[in-house]
């Protein structure tokens, strides 16, 4: 990679501003509420953009670009089916309870609605999950920096061994994220997430523009990729006739309902940004504001993947994964690649990896990085790389602040040290940042064994998040649901997901981290199908069991549930809003737009 001083200057400027925002916010951090909840004082648009940015980590940018290159426009289901409906639902129906109940976190809402044990379960599983996600982000970022040889020139000129780049990247990202969160808490994380959002748009929009222009616009793209790549619903009737290996029911129920609602409606990583809004009205608008750019994000992250396939292969400035950074593998001129996608190279032997059918395995994760290197001249290349780094950091930062809040309020204050002064909890929140980042760094080294970021995240989400939405759905919309029922349902649902994972496997995978570690009783056509059906099972078992147990246990008196259950809570005041500003109207418009996009790209 040939970076010049302009590229470095832009990257450096970004780091200066990120840290500067942290320093500027430090003086406003007086109470634990300021630090861990952003003082509940931010405008809706800031929280809205942070809401999607928190999710815009490694999984999004690299994973979706990879999926776009591998499967085509069908990847947009992760947005139009897997995000928009859930975001509308959380804004219209659930936010009044999260915000209005004055709970400080999602686990705390569970304590208000149900009981202590349900909260403890959720707080602990969530805390583990966030540091895990943060570690994955960190690992992916270090790996990418290593693969793209970003720091190679710098290291050589300083006489340092290039093998240290991986560790240096981990340490650098950890230090920057640590610094700005330690200083400015959630506000700092949210502000930087918004900054990162605009940077990602500013870095990727010209990439799509230049890429499309180069291959002859949309018509050129149509001619260059297989026809199936441009349709999202073709062959969805059966799992064997579409590239995802999932039928429409698995897709809509698994991704569109269970996983998507479980993530967008209950994951404190995103909900924390909405709960930082300055009023209940703003909090309800946060996911709706987020849904609009989210709907068009496929153009920024999936389209580059398609363009990468369509670009005639001129491989000289393109990288491949190599074990020893510094030696650009000879495979970069290998004819087995596809467009800008190189073949995967075994890190040990340096040979191209071959699947069971004798075809080379392609390294789709390099779709977007290679696009940047191929199309961007020096100058804007610095901006593109900065956008990529920003996306990794936003993912990490959101996880770290969520971990902070859940640890401080839901674990430390609830079970370890009750009744301490607010100054003590503020201090605890601050120092938890350091601990959270340290654990993430450890996780980053642990996950080096996993090679598919997307599958790993989906696995964690489907085990922890899938049963959770059933608990919230019953808790918020059925006043009869009891604490014992919620807890038993949740615990059994999670165990069911784990058991399902141990008993089933996807075609072609070997037993282990991808399933089947107990014994194989069923084989799914793809890993995605396994994840979705696992989520459907976990949700179903939790829902049925919690409903059944609720009927035989004693419910809480109705007056205790005001503000926590839909039927017992006064509807939010909307009379002062114009008709077009009402959350429900906005949600309907958003859904209609989503349906239209699905029809256009069917």
């Amino acid at each position: 990679m040939n970076l010049t001083y302009v590229d470095w200057l832009i990257m450096l400027l970004y780091f200066v501003f990120v840290l500067g925002i942290g320093f500027a916010l430090k003086r406003f951090m007086k109470t634990s509420k300021d630090y861990l909840q952003a003082g509940r004082s931010l405008p809706a648009w800031i929280c809205g953009l942070a809401f999607i940015s928190a999710n815009l980590g490694a999984q999004e940018v690299i994973g979706m670009g990879a999926s776009g290159a591998k499967y085509g426009i069908v990847t947009s289901h992760f947005y139009w089916i897997g995000a928009i409906p859930a975001m509308c639902f959380v804004g219209v129906f659930m936010m009044p309870f999260y915000y209005g109940s004055r709970a400080r976190s999602v686990p705390e809402f569970l304590r208000l609605r149900f009981d202590e044990k349900t909260r403890a379960w959720n707080a602990c599983s969530f805390a583990v999950m966030t540091v895990f996600s943060s570690g994955i982000s960190m690992y992916a970022m270090a790996r990418l920096i290593q693969t793209l040889h970003v720091f190679d020139g710098l290291f050589r000129s300083l006489g340092l061994p290039v093998d240290w780049i991986f560790h240096f990247a981990i340490l650098l990202s950890a230090l920057i994220v640590l610094c700005y969160i330690f200083l400015g808490g959630l506000t700092s994380a949210i502000y930087n997430e918004v900054l990162q959002f605009f940077l990602i748009v500013a870095g990727f929009l010209p990439l799509v523009w230049v890429g499309l222009k180069n291959i002859g616009g949309w018509n050129g793209l149509k001619q260059a990729v297989p026809a199936a790549y441009l349709h999202s619903w073709q062959g969805m009737g059966h799992a064997t006739t579409n590239p995802l290996g999932v039928d429409w029911f698995g897709l809509v129920a698994g991704l569109g309902f269970v996983l998507s609602f479980g993530y967008w409606c209950t994951d404190f990583l995103v909900i924390q940004t909405a709960m930082a809004a300055n009023s209940e009205e703003s909090a309800r608008r946060v996911p709706l504001i987020a849904a609009l750019p989210k709907m068009f994000f496929p153009a920024l992250v999936i389209l580059p993947g398609l363009i990468a396939i369509a670009t005639p292969a001129v491989q000289q400035h393109v990288m491949t994964h190599t074990a020893t950074p510094g030696t650009v593998a000879s495979a970069s001129t290998d004819p087995v690649g596809r467009g800008l996608i190189p073949a995967k190279v075994d890190p040990v032997t340096g040979k191209v990896m071959i699947d069971t059918d004798g075809h080379a395995i392609l390294d789709y994760d390099l779709a977007i990085p290679n696009m940047l290197l191929h199309y961007f001249p020096t100058g804007i290349l610095g901006l593109g790389l900065t956008a990529l780094l920003a996306s990794f950091m936003s993912g990490m930062a959101g996880n770290v602040t969520a971990f902070n809040t859940v640890w401080t309020f839901d674990i430390y204050q609830s079970y370890i040290n009750k009744g301490a002064s607010d100054a003590h909890y503020l201090k605890m929140g601050r120092w938890t940042t350091v601990v959270g980042i340290l654990i993430s760094m450890m996780t980053a080294y642990v996950v080096m064994g996993f090679n598919n970021i997307m599958d790993t995240l989906q696995l964690v989400f489907s085990i922890v998040n899938a049963p959770l939405f059933a608990t919230f759905l019953l808790g918020m919309f059925w006043k009869r649901t009891t604490g014992h029922a919620a807890f038993i349902g949740l615990a059994t649902g999670t165990c069911a997901a784990l058991l399902h994972h141990g008993l089933t496997i996807s075609a072609g995978a070997s037993p282990g981290v991808h399933g089947g570690w107990i014994t194989v009783v069923h084989t799914y056509p793809s890993q995605m199908a396994l994840d979705y059906w696992q989520a459907i099972f976990a949700f179903g078992i939790n829902f049925v069991l919690a409903a059944a147990i609720s009927l035989v246990t004693k419910p809480r008196p109705e007056k205790e549930l005001v503000g926590l259950v839909y039927s017992l809570t006064p509807k939010p005041v909307e009379h002062h809003m114009a008709w077009y500003a009402k959350p429900s109207v906005i949600a309907v418009i958003l859904i209609a737009m989503g349906v239209t996009l699905n029809i256009i790209f069917r």
Partner: protein
């Protein structure tokens, strides 16, 4: 919070936009633009970012001078048993 995000963000985009524009103007017509479909993408995108940054800055500065509007009666409900 009394730090308006639009000010630092606008400032950053203005500076980055300015750098890109300047660099694009200096290297205009250079061979490095062969890869970006023959377009001086640094100059074009630099100007776009500059315009965006200046808009953000102006909006941020303008908002600082506006008095705060009190929330509408009853739109923020203190419900539940929270803190």
């Amino acid at each position: 919070m009394s730090l308006d995000l639009r000010v630092p963000m606008g400032l950053m985009f203005t500076i980055v936009g300015f750098i890109l524009t300047l660099y694009g103007a200096v290297t205009h017509g250079s061979a490095i633009y062969e890869r970006s479909a023959g377009m001086d993408i640094n100059l074009v995108w630099g100007l776009v970012m500059l315009a965006f940054g200046v808009c953000m800055l102006m909006m941020g500065r303008h908002a600082d001078k506006q008095p705060k509007v009190p929330p509408v009666e009853g739109s923020d409900r203190p419900l539940g048993h929270g803190h």
